[in-house]
């Protein structure tokens, strides 16, 4: 899934570790999501969207194919 997590995170002035701590995962997981190497669970996607005070579909979008 494509996502604009890096932009949102940088806009909020957060490091990957900050965001990871905030949503209860490891920094490696945030890094993998940002690089489109891991699709988060629905629970984590909700947590991320909730953290940035937006909807899941605002952060994540399905791949074109």
């Amino acid at each position: 899934m494509k996502n604009d997590l890096p932009e949102r995170r940088q806009e909020a002035g957060l490091s990957q570790s900050d965001l990871a701590d905030a949503v209860g995962v490891t920094r490696q997981t945030i890094n993998a999501i940002e690089r489109d190497r891991y699709d988060p669970s629905l629970e984590l996607a909700f947590a991320l969207a909730d953290h940035f005070d937006c909807r899941i579909e605002d952060v994540f979008a399905p791949d074109a194919d």
Binding site: D18, A22, T26, R27, H51
Partner: protein
């Protein structure tokens, strides 16, 4: 927007280093024991290393507030386990029946080691089936 910094307690890197160090010490202890003729002591060090390291590896993520393991670790572990079982099953299903038939027909003679491997693979499949049943039942 609040960020809960977790700067105290066990970090993921420390956790991994501790587990690797303890298990590594056990392995080194085993080989050191073999080299100096203290096999029993080496074995004790090895078993202690495996048990203590394994216990920390399993218990620390459950007891720590810091995210030492998360859903991605579980997903990676599941994929690796599935790949391992798939490869083992593919090898077992294609090779074991053929070996058995060839042995029965006298074309080859399976050694005790090969039979041991066949039994080990069979036990692994059985254990996988039981584990899968337990996981399905508990979900």
């Amino acid at each position: 927007m609040s960020v809960s910094q977790n700067t105290t307690g066990l970090t993921r890197r420390t956790y991994e280093r501790i587990v690797y160090a303890i298990v590594g010490t056990g392995i080194v202890g085993l080989f050191a024991g073999m080299l100096v003729g203290q096999q029993l002591a080496g074995t004790v060090v090895y078993l202690l290393g495996c048990w203590v390291g394994g216990s920390i590896a399993v218990l620390a993520p459950k007891l720590s507030d810091a995210p030492l393991q998360d859903e991605r670790d579980n997903a990676l572990h599941n994929r690796a386990s599935g790949l391992t079982m798939g490869l083992t099953m593919m090898f077992g299903l294609t090779v074991i029946p053929a070996l058995y038939v060839l042995d029965e027909s006298g074309h080859v003679e399976l050694t005790g080691t090969v039979w041991g491997a066949i039994w080990a693979a069979s036990a692994l499949f059985l254990l996988y089936g039981v584990s899968l049943g337990i996981v399905k039942h508990r979900r």
